[in-house]
């Protein structure tokens, strides 16, 4: 398959050897599961249960609130302990509403949903995906059903399945592709069907030859599915860059890949889709990689959602030493976890306990304008320049220099010899700009309302005046007529 060039990018040490050959193990049930109401992009789900309720595995316990939201299901059978604030994986470190479930140990399923079979109608597939609470499992956590319904608004021709897994350490997608090949291919076929596209391309980085071979074999029976080995280069898994590498189409700024006819889903999502549509099972568990220099026995686990990180680390033999950094996701774009009590959520594809030798953190030096960040940026930006604007508090100049075109992949900061925290400064600036936009919107809205009120009052006053004048005229006329009689 012909590939197209994308610019920039870096080659981080892969570090995948620790778990590459580790078959996925089922993590044992923890004593207490915490299911945050927001495990997806969009509105938090509305709880359907109250403390004391008994639930079965797979039973919906929170319903989507609005068009962009996702349902949540009990990941095992047990009793609802509480519904309230709990530690969650959020950069703020603040607690958020969650349902706490005490497993009864029986792990008893509720009645499964009916299998729709491989030839289900597109609408039925999307509906089932929504019912099953499936979100983008690569970490983006956008509700998948919304993306499967894009055919209504866009003319689509290609489904791209992202099996690049370009983040160092992570091997869960690799294992999934090797261990559940047939299910994945069926899932991909279902998703292509839901989208109404005649072509599905599964992109796999060249560092996963076994997965590529397995998937190629399984896809042979499907005319519409192709496997594309892509170069091992970070950030190959970036949606817009992957689409460009595979199709040569460049997504315009501020647009979606759907605008150029392509929808991208993570390969792990296809497995959840298979389970939901064919087996009638909602999303109650996920496969993730537990690795990093501080993990005694790195491995891949299939984990019931809501399992605390501490439990996963214990299953992997505990920590050999205190990690410098505990992360959810890969080292390039992962989020620091502020507590081991934080639960496993739908978008968590890795738990990494990193040592200083993994992070290679060092003191920051002055920017040399060496241009390393410019060469590394896959978006054609000048990261050092944007960072300099941010440092000066000149957010307008940062925006002008392309702040919002930054995808936050971290290639620049990874490569910077002066170890300048570029991504940190971009996050800061994006947050500031977003807050500023909200403030402006509020002010504009207040102004609009005030103006509307003034106009309304003026109009009412004018109407009142006109009415009085009319009444007066009528009265005068009546009086005049009475006088005439």
């Amino acid at each position: 398959m012909r590939l197209f060039r994308i610019k920039g990018g870096v080659h981080p040490a892969e570090r995948k050897d620790a778990t590459r050959e580790k078959a996925v193990e089922d993590a044992p049930l923890a004593a207490r599961l915490v299911l945050p109401l927001q495990q997806h992009i969009g509105a938090p789900a509305k709880p359907l249960v109250k403390p004391g309720d008994r639930v079965l595995k797979g039973q919906p316990i929170a319903a989507p609130a609005g068009p962009v939201s996702a349902a949540i299901h009990a990941s095992t059978s047990g009793t609802v302990e509480s519904v309230g604030p709990q530690p969650v994986p959020h950069p703020s470190g603040l607690p958020a509403p969650a349902i706490v479930l005490i497993p009864d140990g029986r792990d008893a399923w509720c009645e499964p949903m009916l299998s729709l079979g491989p030839y289900a109608a597109p609408e039925a597939i999307a509906e089932r995906v929504a019912e099953a609470g499936i979100v983008g499992l690569g970490g983006a956590t956008f509700p998948s059903a919304v993306k499967l319904n894009l055919r209504a608004r866009h003319r689509l021709d290609t489904l791209v399945m992202n099996g690049a897994e370009c983040e160092p350490f992570l091997t869960c997608d690799d294992r999934l592709m090797r261990e559940h090949t047939s299910e994945l291919i069926q899932g991909v076929a279902l998703m292509a069907r839901a989208l109404g596209v005649s072509r599905a391309v599964i992109a796999i980085e060249r560092n996963k030859p076994e997965a590529t071979a397995a998937m190629t074999g399984a896809a042979a029976a499907y005319r519409e599915i192709a496997i594309a080995p892509v170069p091992t280069r970070y950030p190959m898994g970036s949606e817009k860059h992957l689409v460009q590498a595979l199709t040569g189409r460049e997504t315009p700024a501020k647009a979606l890949t759907a605008d150029i006819g392509v929808v991208v889903h993570n390969i792990a999502t296809a497995f959840a889709v298979y389970e939901a549509v064919i087996l009638g099972r909602p999303l109650v568990s996920r496969i993730l990689t537990v690795s990093g220099g501080a993990i005694a026995r790195p491995t891949n686990l299939r984990v019931p959602l809501g399992t605390p990180i501490r439990h996963l680390i214990d299953v992997c033999g505990g920590l050999t030493e205190t990690p410098q950094e505990l992360l959810s996701g890969g080292p390039m774009m992962g989020q620091p976890l502020r507590s081991t009590e934080i639960p496993t959520v739908k978008g968590m594809n890795g738990v990494l306990a990193l040592l200083p030798s993994d992070t290679r953190r060092g003191p920051a030096h002055a920017c040399l304008r060496c241009g390393t960040c410019v060469a590394a940026c896959p978006c054609g930006l000048l990261p050092f320049e944007i960072a300099a604007h941010v440092r000066n508090g000149d957010f307008a100049a940062a925006l002008e220099a392309g702040l919002m075109d930054c995808i936050g992949c971290g290639s620049c900061a990874f490569a910077c010899p002066s170890r300048i925290p570029l991504v940190q400064s971009f996050h800061h600036a994006k947050g500031h700009v977003a807050a500023e936009a909200r403030r402006k919107q509020r002010a504009d809205e207040a102004k609009r309302l005030a103006q509307a009120k003034a106009e309304r009052e003026a109009r009412l006053a004018a109407e009142r005046k006109a009415e009085m004048a009319r009444k007066k005229a009528a009265a005068d006329k009546a009086r005049a007529e009475a006088g005439a009689e």
Binding site: K240, R361, V374
Partner: protein, 361 residues
């Protein structure tokens, strides 16, 4: 366990290279040519080198103190490197105060006046070299023939003290002075002597390439400089864009002119493989701070340096043009960086979003 500590964003991985390492690798790459040069010109050269590097460090410390900046930044090695590069570009038997004054100019005027590392517009070592060349033309153009430290003609330490510090009487340098190939060719051409006569005998190209030649302290062995440069390229401390463009920028016009009139213009390889050109291409023009940030910009900058070097050598008043060429292109760097920008993903060259063109139409 809930931790309270400052939020930090990723990435939680790094390529591994750091600023002090960049500086250290450049120094390692310079070491063969430096050791060779010090050996070739003996004790006076060693004294000059120590004085220059020492003054650069002292000036950096003084500037950091004055600016109230932490002295820890000294550890990045940039001051040592600037002094080092300056020393390599000086006539090896220049008096100590040339090195000291040059190093002070490089650090104070060339670097800290602009705000320190990363802020300077011009290459500090070249600022110093040009200031010295204009202020002290005699001392800056008096070259000696190689006197290897182990040979009979080499000055001993006592004689060297006289050469460098003027201790125990002044040395008569005019008696031992000589000219580099480029300098000799320039003088002869100015007298109207055709190149075939001027270069008849005495200039073996292979010896020149190996470095057994007249020249600045570090600008004798093109071979060792190329080896050091190859190391930096292999480690990706520098990219090939500036050196390649610079060498082509010198060689292409030189080849054209040489083809037109071989009696008036030196052959392209004499220009491009002169140790001074190689030193400049690999270690001076590649200065990260003062060269453009984009690959395309670096090509323009390198080519500009190369062409200017050829122009200055051929029609200017000096036999060497590296320092002037680099400073001129340093001045053009902000302009290059403003004009030559990569296209932002999803946008056209003017920064407007690409038009949304739906597939299959």
């Amino acid at each position: 366990m809930i931790e309270k500590r400052p939020l930090i964003a990723g990435p939680f991985a790094h390529a591994g290279l750091s600023t002090p390492m960049v500086m250290a690798w450049v120094m390692i790459a310079l070491t063969p040519a430096t050791v060779f040069g010090l050996g070739l010109f003996g004790w006076p050269a060693i004294f000059l080198f120590v004085v220059t590097v020492g003054t650069a460090v002292a000036a950096e410390v003084a500037c950091l103190r004055l600016a109230g900046k932490p002295l820890a930044t000294l550890g990045d090695g940039s001051a040592v490197l600037s002094g080092w590069i300056l020393a390599l570009s000086l006539p090896p038997w220049a008096p100590w105060w040339i090195g000291a004054a040059g190093a002070a100019i490089a650090m104070v005027v060339g670097k800290h006046v602009f705000g320190g590392l990363g802020q300077n517009l011009f290459n500090p070592a070249m600022v110093a070299r040009v200031a010295l060349l204009i202020s002290f033309p005699l001392e800056m153009t008096r070259y000696v023939a190689p006197r290897p430290i182990h040979s009979a003609v080499a000055p001993d330490v006592r004689e060297a003290l006289a050469v460098t510090f003027g201790i125990g009487g002044r040395a008569d340098l005019d008696a031992v002075s000589s000219a580099s190939l480029l300098g000799h060719a320039k003088t002869e051409l100015a007298r109207g002597v055709p190149l075939s006569d001027a270069l008849a005998g005495g200039f073996d190209p292979w010896q020149l390439f190996l470095g057994n030649a007249v020249g600045s302290l570090g600008e004798t062995s093109a071979l060792l400089l190329l080896l050091g440069g190859a190391l930096l390229l292999a480690l990706r401390v520098i990219s090939w864009h500036v050196p390649a463009a610079l060498l082509l920028g010198v060689a292409v016009p030189a080849a054209a002119c040489h083809a037109l009139d071989p009696e008036r213009f030196l052959p392209p390889l004499t220009h491009a493989l002169a140790a001074s050109t190689v030193f400049g291409a690999l270690f001076i023009a590649t200065d990260l701070v003062t060269s453009p940030v984009t690959r395309a910009g670096q090509l323009i900058y390198g080519a500009g340096c190369g062409v200017l070097i050829f122009v200055i050598r051929t029609w200017g008043g000096y036999p060497e043009g590296m320092a002037f060429a680099v400073l001129l292109m340093n001045a053009a760097t902000p302009l290059i960086d403003r004009w030559v920008r990569p296209r932002v993903y999803g946008r056209d060259r003017k920064g407007r979003p690409l038009p949304v063109r739906e597939a299959g139409r």
